[in-house]
Amino acid sequence: MNVTALSTSSRPSPPAGEREPAAKNRALSGFLGSNIFGLIIAIAVFVLLFGLFANGFLSKVNIYSISRSIGINGVIGLAMMTVLVTGGLNLGLGAIAVCSAMVVGWSLQNLGLGIAPSLMIGVLAGAALGAVNGLIVVTTRLHSFVVTLATMSIFFGTMILLSGAQGFNALPRVMTTFGRIRMYGVVSPLLLIMLLVAAILYYIYRYTAFGREMLAAGANPFAAKLSGLPVERLFVWCHALCGAIGAIAGVMASVRNGAVVPSMAGPLGADWLLPAFLAPVLGGTLLTGGSVSVIGAILGTIFVEIITSGLYMLQIGEFWIQTALGLVLLGAILLERGRAAMALQRSTRR
């Protein structure tokens, strides 16, 4: 009776370019019709518009601050993407990120370990918490929504319990100054970390058997199982990967804040859910699983950060800014969709 849950073929199909790898002869038309191309255009248009009309948008301060947000939110989006592969999700991403960052702070401040081992412990902690999610999901066969809803509360609650909601504010100088470096006056090193994470993920999904197996398992668990893939184990890996990258995001946010604080992602870490889902989905990652677009997720983050920052610069009035943000987002994706449809039509008419 639950076969329907697995049939990804019945979902409305995205434009060709979203599914990689696209057939080579259709690569160009696929690219022109893809939302990667669309996002690039949208980003270019908005940079131009805000550059012309929003006072201060192209100032160094602002470009720097945008680059920093893109760095952190990009990693958050990429973390969620790795678990969207399974067709599931991780509501506890923010909670895992905060818990892992707290572990890093504890290791630095209370254990007195160095930066490298502390970071290692933090990322391992994130991976372990993610793996716990994955294990519960595959053994109980409950939906990851319910599982991560519960574990989000457990992880975050345990962290508050152990820490008494007290953060760690004596991070080593290297870390806090790292967060303030301005490369060429406008680029935050956090952006480079995001690009590094993205490059690794791109490599995994594109060129390794492990990555392709994760995608295959997510696209159709039944078929993957029949063809001999260890679907359960792969899904646990996906969740662990999500936790590990979430931990990186948590540390990045702490570096930005100059301290590890339990409140950085809001109650239960739930404030991060929006950027976490928005970027990959805008970039063409399917919520039904089995497909990713690393580049799309990054472009999605850039797009969102640019319109957010630009709208603030226009001084619309804070209470209306959310409305404007929604309208711009809606308008942009609808226009993009119209453009993609036309591009595809033109290419199929040949």
């Binding site: 939906h143 009035g317 409305t323």
Partner: protein, 323 residues
Amino acid sequence: MNLIRNALRADSLGLLLVVLIGGAALSLARPEFLTAYNIDVILVGFSLTVIYALGQGVIIAIGHMNLALGATGCLVAVAFGGSMQVWGLPVWAAMLFGLLIGTFCGFLNGWLTHKSGLTSFIITLATLSIFKGISLGITQAQPFYGVADSVKAFGSDRWGPLPETLLVALPIVIGVALFLGKMIPGRQMLAFGGNPNAAELSGISRARMVILAHTLSGLLAAIAGMMSVARLQLASPAIGDEWLIASFAAPVIGGAVLSGGHLSVVGTCLGVLIVSLINQALVMLAVDPFYVQVMLGALILGAVGLNRLRESRLGNAPVLRLS
């Protein structure tokens, strides 16, 4: 009698047992659990939550999601309160206004989702931002206090042993159950959710299904929004903020499949009750505030895990549902 048959179906029975055993244990530990006042508290919470949970449920049924559910409820609450306080509308007119706004918001979600061919996730994320922004813009983050006394009374008064809010919620629950179980558009919605392509081939209109489900969701969100105003005695722009996760949790605990095609109304009701029972227990047993979150998560996992365990004992668990 669809309801009774539904209740006896395997996936809801387990949840029912969880609710009954949990309730019994709690009333043994704390006899006050069964006082009229406390039952009233539970039922008022239930009335509100079940309406917006079903508002999400009808969307889950077609395999979509409505992230803007809470924002719709919020906008309606603000419009309802504001039209009474600022425009001095009578209650019935304000209610009508609220219902219209909610229905329109839902229709807009459905229409945009259908026309764009994009996932409802993106569309409702954008409208969430729009609706919430309008609510904040109108109110400047201040609640409207000018709620009519009759509305306030509705939120507090009882009819016999039952809170008046339940008298609104119950017919809605039954209505949604009948709609999905008996009526043609409802059954079509489930069929469409199970397999959109097959449904389309058999002549079910995609546009109609998508718009219908979203409009219904908007309507339910509107009712829940106005009910919140009655309960809280003010129209705050923070109404609806906590609906999102709760609205998914109840149907999913109740056995709904996020990819569509299946929604148990009884299961959803039990899902709402389980979560509220857990919250009650944490308050009544005076759990240390620092332990509350941990216990909450563990109990949710325990409750749904127990149900799943029972299912697999009976051998009717899905063979492979990994996502």
